[in-house]
């Protein structure tokens, strides 16, 4: 354990690693908190769809020589509202619409990359993430936005619970559910854009889904699920990035593997507990 902490501290002496760790921890925290609500609302796929939109937007931004994050942020937020509207509208099936938007964005992104810089390591980095991609201004933007997400989440925690558990009741008793749904989508969009460059477009949604699902194996109240998700997410990110530093594995993928291991561990405990109860 002390070895792990020593290595973790050692990583901070590298500027790029320190940046990656700070942004990574904040994004992990935001993603895990929002994830609880998204998973329970059956909106998990929206996170996945948004990350693909983010990939497309980033590729186009690079092609146009614009700052990737400032371009993709508004695009992904717009896509989040669009996806939310679609999934609330029962006439169009939500999952099909998400698949449509995901693949469309991927295709546009890949074409704009191949027309300009050609299919190179850029594509690889967008897909699977790179810790070297953070500029100083990215870090500042990430820290500020993460703190905004956290404050809004804590401030509206009770409303988010009510809207997640029973939207009809909340609406019937006078809560403006549309606003809170939009806020959840808005915060999710921000979180995804922030985390995407490090985790990769294909892997970022795991930060949202895994901690919540893992916690739900064992925790029985909304509050404990939320807190446990946050802890699991922070822990898995720390372990993942340390492993990637030690063994030169891709960061995003290492974090996901750490999440998978914890999920299996929790699932086993649940399994044993239920066996015992019978």
């Amino acid at each position: 354990m002390s070895d792990f902490i020593a290595k973790f501290m050692e990583m901070f002496s590298y500027g790029f690693m320190a940046k990656a760790i700070i942004v990574g921890l904040l994004v992990s925290l935001c993603a895990s908190l929002l994830g609880v609500s998204l998973v329970l609302k059956r909106y998990s796929m929206i996170g996945d769809g948004l990350s693909h939109v983010g990939f497309g937007a980033m590729a186009v931004a690079t092609a146009l020589n614009a700052a990737p994050m400032t371009v993709s942020l508004p695009v992904v937020i717009l896509a989040a509202f669009l996806l939310l509207r679609i999934s609330e509208n029962s006439k169009i099936k939500g999952d099909a619409a998400i698949a449509l938007i995901s693949t469309a964005s991927l295709a546009i992104g890949v074409i704009s990359i191949s027309l300009t810089t050609g299919m190179n390591t850029d594509v690889y980095n967008y897909m699977f993430g790179s810790i070297l991609s953070m500029s100083d201004s990215d870090v500042v933007l990430s820290v500020i936005l993460s703190i905004v997400v956290l404050i809004l989440f804590i401030f509206f925690y009770n409303k988010i619970f009510a809207v997640t558990f029973d939207e009809t009741f909340a609406r019937a008793t006078g809560t403006h559910t549309t606003i809170y749904n939009m806020m959840i989508a808005f915060l999710t969009a921000i979180t995804i854009v922030l985390g995407m460059r490090m985790m990769g477009a294909l892997l970022i949604s795991s930060l949202i889904i895994f901690p919540a699902l893992t916690s739900m194996r064992l925790c029985k109240t909304f509050k404990s699920v939320t807190i446990s998700s946050a802890i699991i997410s922070l822990l898995c990110f720390s372990v993942g990035i340390t492993a990637s530093y030690l063994y030169a594995t891709p960061t995003g993928a290492s974090v996901v593997v750490a999440n998978i291991l914890v999920f299996i561990f929790f699932w086993l405990i649940q399994f044993i507990k239920e066996k015992k109860a019978v």
Partner: protein
């Protein structure tokens, strides 16, 4: 002045009229059962009374002292709730949210009201239990406590006994009657169960695309409609 008055009210989905020409009023302290077959417009009417759906024709007028965030509602359960990780207490207190407005956290007063309703429904032993591990009847009592936290005046119940076994159903009906008698809360309940509706309610509204009957339960028992409805439900 009645609590709710419906005058020539119709509801439609995309131009197709579901139910039309509703004329009835509910006074404070009434126990109204809305009965009718599937698709007769009962749930649509409830949505209308809650303000989730506006009438295509006519007017629903509420007493000016009844604000829209003062209506308690017991909805039919959704599939997503069945495996929701939340304690009974968390769910009950979420009923207080509508009175909070923009303020984010619960106050002492909220917690006192929650305690009162937990005691009223006898679910003190369930407060820290996980909602998904409760039985159907226990879940309904938790949701009823939440609905009571949201209101002092009017409670709308959408088939509260659906899927419950007969013993638990009777218990729940007794509890609802107790609430109606003790606190003077007005109750509007959608029900399939004509027998219990006749037993507990003070007024009956029967729907079948339009209003077949509205009046006191005693009058309903004397009317022809009741016999016809008995025939159908058998």
């Amino acid at each position: 002045m009645p609590l709710i008055t419906c005058r020539d009210v119709s509801f439609a989905y995309e131009g197709n009229t579901v139910v039309e020409e509703l004329n009835f009023s509910v006074d404070s302290g009434d126990y109204l059962c809305v009965v009718g077959e599937n698709g007769s417009g009962k749930s649509t009417l409830i949505k209308g009374l809650l303000g989730l759906k506006s009438p295509s024709k006519g007017k629903i007028s509420m007493d000016e002292n009844l604000k829209s965030n003062e209506i308690g509602y017991l909805p039919q359960q959704t599939a997503a709730q069945k495996d929701f990780p939340a304690s009974a207490y968390e769910i009950v207190i979420s009923g207080r949210l509508s009175t909070r407005g923009i303020r984010p956290f619960y106050t002492k007063e909220d917690k006192q009201i929650v305690e009162k309703n937990i005691a009223l429904l006898g679910i003190d032993n369930l407060r820290n239990r996980c909602y998904r591990e409760l039985s159907g009847g226990q879940q309904q009592r938790v949701l009823l406590a939440r609905a009571l936290c949201a209101t002092k005046k009017l409670l709308l119940l959408d088939e509260p006994t659906a899927g419950l076994d007969p013993m638990v159903t009777v218990e729940l009906y007794n509890q609802i009657e107790h609430i109606n008698k003790e606190t003077g809360l007005t109750i509007i309940m959608v029900s399939h169960d004509i027998e219990s509706s006749l037993k507990y309610s003070s007024h009956i509204l029967q729907l079948k695309k339009q209003q077949l009957f509205f009046g006191t339960t005693d009058d309903y028992k004397q009317s022809d409609e009741v016999n016809r409805f008995w025939e159908v439900s058998r």
